[in-house]
Amino acid sequence: MSARLHGDVMNQRDDWHLTEALDYEHGRADPFAAAVRATRMPMVITDPSDPDNPIVFCNEAFQKLTGYDRNEIIGRNCRFLQGPETNQDDVSRVRTAIEAQTDIAIDLLNYRKDGSTFWNALYLSPVRNDDGDVVFFFASQLDVSNRVQAQTMIAEQKTAVEREVEARTADLKAALEAKTLLLHEVDHRVKNNLTMIGSLLRLQARSIADPAITSKLETMLERVDALATVHRRLYQSDDITRFDVGAFAENLVADVVGASGRTDILIATEIARIEVPSSKAAALGLILNEITTNAIKHAFIDGKAGTITIRAGVDESDAVVEISDDGHGLSTQQAKPDGMGKTLIARLARQVNADVRWSDAAPGARVTVSFPVTE
């Protein structure tokens, strides 16, 4: 080496040796070399042309960081800073970068002379000559133990928070399950009670000889049935806070016609989803029940065949359910519900802000129920 240093023709590779002279001419010669020597950033230069790529230069800051003296450093491969806890995968990444002659930035756990550790933010890059050949590797180090510790702490806190969130979520899930169970239990009892009320009314109706009273009881029964259908539809749906009026109307008409045994009454449907809050379900269900049972009872008397058409849809802000028939029409005396049915429709319509209108469908009658859905 000394031959090169004192050779007559100093090639480019040997320029770095100038910094050796700066030991006693600190900062007075090459200002760049002086800067490298004096910077607070630990730096080394290695020579890959020598066996095992030894360190051929290190600055003061590097000695201070690692606790080794220059004579303990020069001539050794950088791996002397590694220790048992150093991640070997990271080390082999550095090796790969050197072999590929590319630069690399990586955090390594390194060991000082006294055995203590520090996190080393290593930046290593090849230095090429004019021909593009790698003549040195330049490496800068930075003690980032604080940053790594902070990251570790953040990661630990994150894990702790995640664990806490998980525990809370489990608690909430358990609470929700308990509530769901309770809801199912209540739902089950409501259904059983509705079924029993229906059964009681049906059994009573059978034991009464007076057709006028039987007919009234049956009408009551249809109302209880309508409420039961509302309840069933609500609890079978995914969202028990919403009620689909269109599907309910279709369901109701099919049930009522089906049970009448009148195969000569056809059902035509044109149904879109109309969602209302479940609080309105019972009232709307009862209104539609009064209209439907009335239509089926009176539009097709005397064995007149025909079609019941149900249309449901949302028109701007209003939902519209239309039940029409091609039966006897409005001229018949009983085209519209009377008595209790009439009162029910009027009062319940007011309750849910619905408008119920009868019109001539020539032939037959049409009932249009419209109500706001944006409340």
């Binding site: 079924t195 059964s199 249809e222 049930d255 009522v256 089906g258």
Partner: protein
Amino acid sequence: MTHRPHAPLSVLIVEDEALLAMDIEAMVEDAGHKVIGEAASLDEVEHLSGSLRPDLAFVDIQLAKGSSGLDVCAVIRERWAGTVVVFVTANPLKIPADFAGGHGVIPKPFSRNGLISAMRFIEEGVCDPPPLSPQPASFIAAPAFAALWS
């Protein structure tokens, strides 16, 4: 050629609520069928006379003495392989996806209209398949129900 039952169907009612059993019985008879037996629990079904030949059984899920309609279904299927089992329950969600071998479910609360429509549909499917009536909302058919038609 499969042997198909004729109306009136012989119906077995397995229900622990006396009122509901009476009510279903009345509606079954209104629909023109015959109730040939009633039971309120699993062991009552086991003790039914072997000479009964139910075409159709309506089976509640929560039965007396803590017994389950799903077990009743298994017993019925074992004793009378040809019987069509329809669950009548307030808790249709408790029925497994394969309906435990049953043919369908009528959710409670049922209405007279719903039950009679369901009964008509079932009768058509059992006696003269496939049914001509559309499947009513009051009846959810199991895959085993449509399998009866083939």
